[in-house]
C-alpha cells in the first residue's frame, strides 16, 4: 500500500522538502522545477535515453500557452525506479506519440520533470514517488 498524500497538503509537503528530496534522493534536488505548476502536453518522441542517473525523453510538443512547437527535454527517474514502477527500457522509440503531465523548469527553459506518461496504446505510468504524482487529468 502506497501512501498518497491528500491533494490539499501536497504544497506543504513540497515546501518542507518531504517529496522534493532532502537527504533521501540519490542524485539531485527537484527544486529547479516548478512543483506548483503541472502542464499536459502531447507530442512526438524524438529521443529516449535509458540511463542513470536519469532517463530522458526528448519530445516535440506544442507550448501550452503559445501553441508554438518546442523541443522539450523530459526528466524521468533512475532506471531502477522506473523498472519498479512498471516501465521497460524499450517501451518508447522515436516517432511514438505520447502525452505527458510535467512540471516545467522555473527558469523557462524547455525542460520538465515528468509526473505521468501516457503511451500511444493508452498505458499510463508514473515517475515514482520522489517526482510526485500528477495532480491534473
Amino acid at each position: 500500500m502506497i501512501y498518497t498524500p491528500p491533494m490539499k497538503i501536497l504544497p506543504t509537503l513540497f515546501a518542507i522538502g518531504v517529496l522534493s528530496g532532502g537527504p533521501a534522493l540519490a542524485h539531485h534536488s527537484f527544486a529547479p522545477y516548478d512543483s506548483t505548476l503541472q502542464i499536459k502536453m502531447s507530442g512526438v518522441v524524438t529521443g529516449f535515453k535509458w540511463a542513470n542517473p536519469h532517463v530522458y525523453i526528448e519530445l516535440d510538443a506544442a507550448d501550452a500557452k503559445t501553441g508554438e512547437k518546442r523541443h522539450w527535454l523530459v526528466e524521468c527517474a533512475s532506471t531502477s525506479i522506473l523498472n519498479r514502477t512498471g516501465w521497460k527500457f524499450n517501451m518508447l522509440k522515436p516517432g511514438d506519440r505520447i502525452t505527458v503531465i510535467v512540471s516545467p523548469l522555473r527558469n523557462g527553459e524547455p525542460a520538465a520533470l515528468l509526473k505521468q506518461i501516457t503511451l500511444a496504446d493508452g498505458r499510463k505510468f508514473s515517475n515514482g514517488a520522489a517526482a510526485g504524482r500528477a495532480t491534473i487529468e
Binding site: 528530496g21 542524485h27 542517473p53 526528466e75 533512475s78 531502477s80 525506479i81 523498472n83 515514482g128
Partner: protein, 253 residues
C-alpha cells in the same frame, strides 16, 4: 553445514585462521536483499508492508557538534533550505554523481544486498553501485593506517545474534548531512534481526574533535525476498554547477 565443512577443510590446510572460523560458523540470516523501512514510496521498493508491523525509528537527530561547528552547520542548513525554496538547490556531491559513502549509504536510498560469506559480510547499495566489505574477526584498522575511502575500512564480529561493525578511515569530504568530521571519526553499527523480516541497524558516531557526545540513531530495513539489485552507473549526468550562482542546473540543450 557445507559452509562449516568447507571452513574446517580450509582451516586444516592453514588457509583460514581459527578466529575467522569462529566468526563464520553459520550464516546468521541477514543474507539477501533489503529495502528501507518505513517503505519509501512508489519506485523505491516493493510497496509490500511487513506481515508484523514494527514501530518506525525516530528521525536522525541533529548532529551534536561542538561550537563553532554547530552554528556553522545550522547556518549552512538554513542557507541550503532557503536556496532550495527559491529553486536554486545548492551543490551536492550527489549532483556530481559522487557516491554517498559511509554512513549515508546505509540509509538504503535504494535497495541493498547483504552477502554473508566466510570471514566477510559484503553490503551492496544499488544507488551508485556502492560496495562495502566488513572483514569478520579481523584486527581493526588504526585510523592512521586507514587510507581515506568513501566506505571507510570496516571490521566486524558477531556478538550473539548482533553483527557489530566498526568503520574508520572515511574521507573528510564524505559528509553525512553536511556534518564535518575528523580522520579519527569512528562509526559503530549494531545490526540485528527484530523479526524474520526486519533488520535494525543502530548507528553510533564518535568523533572527539567535532562532537560533544556520540551521535546515534536507528535505521531499519525490510527483507525483500527475490529482489535482484539493479545496475546503477552514472553515465549520463546532465546536471552541472551554474558558474555564476553556484547551484544545481540542468543542461537542457
Amino acid at each position: 553445514m557445507w559452509l562449516r565443512l568447507t571452513l574446517v577443510t580450509l582451516l586444516a590446510a592453514g588457509a583460514v585462521s581459527e578466529s575467522v572460523l569462529a566468526q563464520s560458523s553459520a550464516v546468521r540470516g541477514i543474507n539477501g536483499s533489503w529495502e528501507a523501512y518505513p517503505l519509501r514510496g512508489e519506485g523505491f521498493g516493493s510497496g509490500v508492508q511487513p506481515k508484523t508491523p514494527v514501530k518506525a525509528p525516530t528521525p536522525v537527530p541533529e548532529p551534536p557538534l561542538k561550537q563553532p561547528y554547530l552554528d556553522e552547520w545550522r547556518s549552512l542548513q538554513a542557507r541550503n533550505a532557503e536556496l532550495t525554496k527559491k529553486g536554486l538547490p545548492p551543490l551536492s556531491t550527489g549532483m556530481a554523481c559522487i557516491p554517498e559513502g559511509m554512513p549515508a549509504m546505509m540509509q538504503a536510498t535504494f535497495p541493498m544486498e547483504i552477502l554473508e560469506t566466510p570471514g566477510q559480510v559484503t553490503i551492496i547499495q544499488e544507488a551508485f553501485t556502492q560496495v562495502r566489505r566488513v572483514h569478520l574477526g579481523a584486527k581493526p584498522v588504526a585510523p592512521e593506517d586507514a587510507e581515506p575511502r568513501f566506505a571507510g575500512h570496516s571490521t566486524g564480529r558477531w556478538d550473539g545474534s548482533t553483527l557489530v561493525v566498526e568503520t574508520v578511515g572515511i574521507k573528510e569530504s564524505v559528509r553525512f548531512r553536511n556534518t564535518p568530521h575528523s580522520t579519527n571519526m569512528r562509526v559503530t553499527e549494531r545490526m540485528r534481526l527484530v523479526n524474520d523480516e526486519i533488520l535494525e541497524n543502530v548507528v553510533t558516531i564518535v568523533d572527539a574533535e567535532y562532537l560533544t557526545k556520540p551521535w546515534t540513531w536507528t535505521w531499519m530495513y525490510k527483507r525483500w525476498p527475490g529482489y535482484r539489485i539493479e545496475e546503477y552507473v552514472c553515465e549520463d549526468n546532465r546536471y552541472y554547477e551554474d558558474p555564476a550562482q553556484r547551484y544545481q542546473r540542468l543542461k537542457v540543450n
